[in-house]
């Protein structure tokens, strides 16, 4: 069953690539939907009281080095698998039928989904590494072939950044094998951690790869270009799941396998500091962006900081909060990117400085946007609040000043999110625009301005003014967002759904200092 969860999308990708074009989207949806059903079935049959991996599959693979094809699921990976499958369905739904090379796009989305499912499923370090690396291939092609603007450069930058990390991680993986008991089984490796000095080196090698993927400050250099270039449908899984693979790897590999990375300083002390800097830095950069997509991209850096902070607070509230936050971020960020992309497609501009007073023209979209905005800034009752509260609680128990510093992010989030929402959707008294087309026309006029922030021209759209298009959300688009919005409420009101799974871990998460 676990094999099917990763193999089905991969095989589906091959099938979609060979099918005729008009069947690509239905076939892709079918495969992704089936995978989603499988993961839901997995969630239903999951035993939240069981310790150790569940539904294991274990076959020898490379006997000489005791590499096994070993899959398993536990409380950390379960909901991430569901999230991955759900977002893949949404990404395919959000793909426009007139996209060029549609078959390739959907095939690559499915391929990526299969690889990421493999990352969450692997219970063998080398198998994990294999999936970890392969996910780069579809991501690279998706960014390069279907990206906007200078996508080739963005894709190359992305792949070189991540490869530096992941090839060094290969040395780390080999080092784990040699110094932690000649095995690649994660559970065995966790039971035999090497000496602190060896851990120090291995932590650097492995942690760098994961930090780049998250991305953790200061390794987020690839993110702005990549997110700017990525098409919205791809961003659903790219931003929604791929960053989580890095955070998941920290929770699954760094913490349990290398609990004491101490030599002349302690890496475990460095990570939360970087996380807190990332929270503040991402939020500050989000404040300065004019492109709405980039506001969300940088807010994502800030939110990922919370996740890392929770993971490295080494206590249950922090790590549970981090897991909740991974799911939350995976629910909120795709919705935001899709909304922004749709606003951009309707008005021809994503420049937050020139768009205004859109709410009267697109009331449903504005309503959804408001809910998602409130969820993103952590309003109690919606999902992000629980996660952020728990990570900060965990951080406080670990070191109070970290929690205090992390609150900067909480304070800035309403500023950039509400500024974005208010500025784009409403206008000050007296600034309202009479006719809908006038607002668009003004938007079109203003969008010719070059923004200093990204150095590029935000698309010019004089044509839109003449088009009396339906501006509000179409029913299909509403349908795409609805499951995400529902999840924001469900997770906000009943986070126990996710936290209870955290009791069923494959192997314990050690607490190094207390």
């Amino acid at each position: 069953m676990l094999t099917a969860i990763w193999l089905l999308p991969v095989a589906g990708a091959l099938a979609v690539a060979l099918l005729p074009r008009h069947l690509a989207k239905p076939a892709g949806l079918g495969v992704a939907g089936l995978t989603l059903l499988l993961t839901l079935l997995l969630a239903v049959t999951f035993d939240p009281g069981h310790r150790g991996y569940q539904l294991e599959e274990n076959l020898p693979w490379v006997d000489q080095y005791k590499v096994a094809y070993h899959l398993g699921v536990d409380g950390i990976s379960l909901w991430l698998l569901v999230l991955n499958a759900l977002l893949t369905v949404i990404a395919i739904l959000a793909t426009g039928p007139r996209l060029r090379r549609l078959r390739g796009f959907i095939a690559m989305l499915l391929f990526l989904a299969g690889c990421m499912a493999g990352i969450f499923l692997a219970a063998d370090l080398l198998l994990f590494y294999v999936f970890w690396e392969v996910q780069l291939i579809p991501a690279y092609f998706l960014l390069w072939q279907w990206g906007e603007g200078r996508s080739g450069r963005a894709a190359l930058k992305f792949i070189l950044y991540t490869l530096v990390g992941s090839l060094l991680a290969l040395v780390g993986v080999i080092g784990e094998y040699i110094y932690a008991g000649n095995t690649f089984q994660l559970a065995d490796l966790a039971a035999h951690p090497p000496t602190p000095a060896i851990q120090f080196g291995l932590f650097l090698l492995l942690g760098l790869a994961f930090a780049i993927k998250v991305p953790l400050f200061p390794f987020h250099g690839w993110l702005p270009d990549a997110y700017r270039a990525a098409p919205a449908a791809f961003l659903v899984t790219f931003a929604g799941v791929m960053g989580k693979t890095g955070a998941y790897a920290m929770l699954r590999i760094l913490i349990p396998l290398l609990p004491h990375p101490v030599f002349w300083w302690d890496w475990n002390g460095v990570m939360p500091i970087l996380a807190v800097i990332g929270i503040a830095w991402g939020a500050l950069l989000a404040l300065t962006q004019r492109d709405m997509k980039m506001v969300i991209a940088y807010s994502s850096v800030s939110h990922m900081g919370f996740i890392v902070l929770g993971i490295f607070s080494f206590n249950q509230p922090g790590q549970q909060g981090a897991l909740i936050q991974m799911i939350n971020h995976g629910v909120i960020v795709p919705a935001l990117f899709l909304l922004v992309a749709w606003i951009g497609a309707r008005t021809g501009s994503r420049d937050r400085a020139v768009l205004k007073d859109l709410a009267p023209r697109m009331p449903v979209l504005a309503g959804i946007f408001l809910i998602v905005t409130l969820a993103a800034l952590g309003l109690p009752g919606l999902n992000s609040f629980v996660g952020e509260f728990m990570t900060l609680l965990g951080a406080w128990q670990f070191a109070p000043w970290l929690a205090v510093a992390g609150c900067i992010g909480l304070l800035l989030a309403p500023v950039y999110m509400l500024r974005l929402f208010q500025g784009v959707m409403y206008a000050a008294r007296g600034e309202q625009l009479g006719a809908p087309s006038a607002a668009i026309a003004e938007g079109a006029h203003g969008s010719e301005v070059r923004t200093a922030a990204d150095g590029g021209v935000i698309q010019s759209v004089t044509a839109v003014a003449a088009r009396p298009a339906r501006l509000d959300l179409a029913r299909a688009e509403l349908g795409i967002l609805l499951p995400l919005v529902l999840l924001m409420f469900v997770l906000g009101l009943y986070p126990y759904l996710i936290t209870q799974a955290m009791n069923a871990l494959a192997f314990p998460l050690p607490v190094p200092w207390r």
Partner: protein, 499 residues
């Protein structure tokens, strides 16, 4: 006296002759095919010659592959000809690899010469001679047979490089290869002479018994190790002895380049493992250090130089310099797992490197080869199968999991770290990051818009060869334990001969 003791006994009967011959049976089969092809070439009418030579070569190589595989499956043979050659699993591993390479080359050569309107039969004869020399090199266990085999394969390749007679680049390639190759042979021969002088025997297992760790202070042997390392460096195109590689690879006809990029490397590594690993096992600390320098230089220089190339063949030449550096990591690490990893990587290299070259045959026109990287523009849209497969070969060469190249590197690097060469492994990993830049650049061109108006030459045979290599690569990478086990068995046999 010691020399005499290694000379074959006088009472050399039929039984002994047969048992000796059976140890080198695959080589003998290739040699027979070579002779038959030559005879057919001057006895048949002109139009039939090419086909006859191709069929003879294919039959001989297929038989050799079969015999080698059967002998490997039954545990392999042992020493023959009084220790001058061996039919152990180490030799058999290379014989299988080289026979497979020969088979693939026969098809590509035929496709190529017919497209370029060149004579066919002679190319098959030359490649058969080279395969025989390479196989003999892998089973050579005496400095004498090592050198004779090396010259056999080299002379055949010198001629093969200049096969395209009207093409000045091909002629230049042949002359350069001849001059540099002769130079390298001289170094090697000098080193071998010194080793003989220091130990009084040319049989490697005997040398292994007579050389001890104390000989690290023997200037004769140290000089011998240095000179031989230089000679080996030339043959595996390791930096700083790699200067000939790009020119020769670029000028030589495509099938010859594809053949020798894999074959020469495999044979040369077999030679290094035999001579250093078996004969001079006790001087490992010394030769490993020299080879480590060559490895680091190869990986850095090869990968950096490849980044700026515009010709695909030159890019692959520098890539092969770097790949040789990776393979050296296994030799430096030594022992069963190190040598076994190198053997596995050579097997992987056969499929991924040959496959990449074979893709290029669709660009060949009667006038020339069109090997600029930009000639590949849009290949993915003009011929999706080849586009996907070339992408896979490039990713495999770059070491992306779960490709063959990844497992090859994994085994090499694990062996390297295990034996304490972590610094070299870290360099290798960083060099791999550089390599991604140019391998991905090829992929970039493959999936870029079409720029060339030239029609692709959709030869089914060439596409078939590419597909076969890709399928083999995929099959091995799905379950790499099998081929790795073969490599480890071979490595263990080579090591056992030295103790």
């Amino acid at each position: 006296m010691t020399l005499l003791s290694t000379v074959p006994q006088i009472n050399y009967g039929v039984g002994q002759a047969w048992s000796d011959l059976s140890q080198i049976l695959p080589i003998a089969l290739v040699a027979v095919a070579l002779l038959v092809a030559i005879v057919l070439d001057f006895s048949l009418p002109q139009p039939l010659r090419g086909t006859a030579a191709a069929l003879t070569a294919a039959a001989g190589l297929a038989l050799a592959l079969l015999v080698a595989a059967l002998r490997f499956a039954t545990g392999g043979g042992g020493s023959a000809y009084s220790g001058f050659a061996s039919g152990d699993t180490f030799a058999l591993f290379f014989e299988m690899l080289l026979a497979a390479l020969g088979l693939l080359s026969v098809v590509i050569s035929r496709v190529y010469v017919r497209r370029r309107n060149l004579l066919e039969a002679e190319l098959h004869v030359l490649l058969l001679a080279a395969v025989a020399g390479m196989m003999a090199l892998a089973s050579a266990t005496s400095l004498v047979t090592v050198f004779i085999s090396l010259e056999t394969l080299s002379v055949a390749l010198y001629v093969a490089c200049g096969y395209s007679r009207r093409d000045t680049a091909s002629q230049e390639s042949a002359v350069k290869y001849l001059l540099v190759g002769g130079f390298a042979s001289a170094f090697l021969l000098y080193g071998m002479a010194l080793a003989y002088g220091a130990t009084g025997t040319t049989v490697l297992s005997e040398i292994g018994k007579r050389v001890t760790e104390q000989d690290a202070h023997n200037p004769l042997l140290i000089l011998s190790v240095i000179l031989m390392a230089v000679g080996f460096g030339y043959k595996i195109s390791g930096a700083p002895f790699h200067q000939w590689t790009p020119d020769v690879y670029q000028g030589a006809p495509l099938p010859v380049t594809a053949f020798m990029s894999v074959g020469t490397k495999a044979a040369a590594f077999a030679m290094i493992i035999r001579v250093f690993g078996t004969g001079l096992a006790h001087l490992q600390a010394e030769w490993a250090l020299i080879l480590a320098f060559i490895a680091v230089a190869s990986m850095l220089i090869g990968n950096l130089a490849a980044v700026v190339q515009t010709s695909f063949k030159r890019l692959m030449a520098y890539s092969s310099v770097a790949q040789g550096g990776y393979m050296l990591v296994g030799v430096i690490a030594g022992g069963k797992s190190g040598f076994g990893a190198t053997l596995f990587y050579l097997g992987a290299y056969l499929f991924m490197n040959f496959g990449a070259f074979a893709v290029l045959t669709v660009l060949v026109t009667p006038e020339g080869e069109h090997d600029r990287i930009s000639d590949l523009d849009g290949l993915g849209y003009r011929h999706p199968l080849l586009g996907v497969l070339l992408t896979a070969f490039m990713l495999s060469l770059a070491g992306f999991p779960p490709s063959l190249g990844f497992f090859g590197k994994l085994f090499l690097f694990t062996a390297g770290v295990q034996s304490g060469w972590t610094a070299v492994v870290v360099v290798a990993v960083l060099a791999s990051v550089i390599s991604v830049a140019y391998y991905v650049r090829v992929v970039y061109h493959v999936w870029s818009p079409v720029t060339s108006e030239r029609r692709l030459w959709r030869s089914p045979a060439a596409v078939g060869v590419v597909t076969v290599t890709a399928v083999m690569a995929l099959a091995i990478s799905l379950y790499p334990a099998l081929v790795f086990a073969l490599g480890l068995t071979g490595a263990a046999d080579a090591l056992a001969a030295g103790h």
